[in-house]
Symmetry: C2
Subunit: 253 residues, 2 copies
C-alpha cells in the first residue's frame, strides 16, 4: 500500500481539485469522506476509483472496507487528510468515485421530487435525504440547482444518492413528460390563493416541485403544473425554510 | 453621524467580539446583520444599542431605519462591514442588540418545542423559525444546546426570536413543570417501538422534545415524558435531519 505524506503529491493535487465544480466536471469524479458514506457507496456498487485512509482508520476498520478495496487503497498522513477534508475534524477515510452517467430514460413511476433553482447545498442534500426517507423514486434537479457532487451536498445527503435516482434536466421539458406518463405535477407557492396542501388527496404517483430559497418557483413553470400548493402558516414567520416545507409536503401527501 | 473606516477602531473591536460565545456572554449583547433582521428587531421593540450602516445602505434605506435610530447610528466603510460580517457578501447594515433577560415565569400555554442538546446552529435556528410558522408559543433549549445568539442561529431564525418566547432551562425540571400545568410532553425516538406520530391525536396544548443530531434524546428523559413518538420511514435512509423531523411533527400534530 502506498503512503502519501505530502499535499504536493500529484495524486493528492488532482483529488483536491474535486472540491471545485470545475475540477469535478473535468475529471468526472467526486470525493466523499467519512466511514458512513464510503460504506453506503460500497453497498451500492458504484465505481470507487481510490480509497484514502489514515493510520488511525487502518487500525479501526470495523467494516473491513480496506480489505474490499485493497487494490485501490492508499494510506495518507493526517495532514493530507486535513488538506482534503471539508470538515474541521477530518475523518480518516475518503473515496474518489466515478460520477454516474445520467440515465437517458427516466423511470416515470412512484413519487418524484423536482428542485427548481435550489441554490443552498445543505438544502439540496437534505431534501434528497428526506425524499429517500419518504420512499420517493428520485429527484430531478433543474440545470441551475446546486451541484449534487459538492461536498456540502454529499454531507447533507448522508448516502441517499446511492438509494434513489438523481438527474439534472430542463424542467420545462420534464413537467410535460411526467404528465404524459399520467403523473400529475404539483407546484408550490407562498401564496394563499394556491391550494392548501391539506385539501389535496394525492394519488400514488406524482411529481412535487420545490422552488428557489428566495424567489420560489420560476414564474414560467406555474401555468405548466396541474396544481399549485401552499402551506398555511399560523405564526408570524413569513415563510418556511424550503427543505422544511419539502419535508412537510413529502410526509403529508 | 460618526464614520469608522478602520477595523482597529475600539468600538469595532468590541463588536467583533460578539462573534464568539465568550464575547456575547461578557457584553450581554449580540450582533445581527441584514435589513430584514434589523427591521424585525425594530418592529419588536427590543433594545437596539448600535446601528452600523455603509454608504450604500444610507443611499437605499427604503424602510427609513436610520431615521428611527439616528442617535445610535454610525457609518462604517465596506472593509469594516466585511470584517464584521459572517457572510461572504456582507450586507450594508448591522445592529447590536441587548440580550433579553430570561423570563423567570414561563407562560405554560399553547404548543412548545423543546430542544435537547441540539448542536448545529442551522438546525436550532431553522427549528425556531418553523415553530414560529406553526404558531408555537415558544421554544425551550437545554442548557447545552447551541447558543441562540450565534450568527448562524440568528441567520436561520430569520427574526423568529422576536415573535416567540425563547428560554434556556434544565429539561429534567421543565418536563414535570409542563406536566403539572396539564401540558403532556412528547419525546421523539428513532425507534419503531415508539408511537407512530400519525396515531397520536394531539391536544391543543403540549410540549414536543427533539433530540441531538447524532444521539437523539437523552436516555434520562425517556421515562419522564408522556409518550415517545417516531416517524416511520419507508425508503432506505436511516434517519431524517432533526429539523426536518421537527417540521413534519409540528405541522402534523
Amino acid at each position: 500500500m502506498d503512503y502519501i505524506t505530502s499535499v504536493k503529491n500529484e495524486k493528492i493535487k488532482e483529488i483536491k481539485k474535486l472540491s471545485t465544480v470545475k475540477g469535478r466536471r473535468h475529471q468526472h469524479l467526486y470525493l466523499i469522506e467519512g466511514e458512513h458514506l464510503v460504506n453506503e457507496a460500497l453497498k451500492s456498487q458504484v465505481n470507487i476509483k481510490e480509497l484514502l485512509v489514515t493510520e488511525n482508520f487502518i487500525n479501526h476498520d470495523e467494516h473491513h472496507i480496506i480489505k474490499q478495496l485493497y487494490n485501490q487503497t492508499t494510506q495518507i498522513s493526517d495532514n493530507v487528510a486535513q488538506h482534503l477534508s471539508a470538515l474541521v475534524t477530518p475523518p480518516g477515510i475518503f473515496a474518489v468515485i466515478a460520477q454516474p452517467t445520467t440515465p437517458t430514460t427516466i423511470n416515470y413511476q412512484g413519487k418524484w421530487l423536482v428542485l427548481d433553482q435550489v441554490q443552498d447545498p445543505g438544502n439540496v442534500g437534505t431534501m434528497i435525504r428526506t425524499a429517500d426517507a419518504a420512499g420517493y423514486q428520485g429527484v430531478v434537479l433543474s440545470t441551475d440547482s446546486a451541484d449534487i457532487y459538492a461536498p456540502k451536498v454529499q454531507r447533507a445527503m448522508q448516502g441517499s444518492q446511492f438509494h434513489l435516482q438523481l438527474l439534472r434536466a430542463d424542467l420545462e421539458q420534464v413537467i410535460p413528460a411526467f404528465q404524459k406518463q399520467k403523473l400529475p405535477v404539483y407546484g408550490t407557492l407562498v401564496d394563499d390563493q394556491a391550494l392548501n396542501y391539506r385539501q389535496l388527496t394525492a394519488p400514488e404517483e406524482f411529481a412535487l416541485i420545490m422552488g428557489n430559497e428566495a424567489h420560489g418557483m420560476q414564474a414560467e413553470l406555474i401555468p405548466l403544473v396541474d396544481k399549485n400548493l401552499y402551506i398555511p402558516l399560523v405564526g408570524q414567520a413569513e415563510s418556511l425554510n424550503v427543505a422544511i416545507a419539502a419535508g412537510i409536503l413529502m410526509f403529508s401527501l
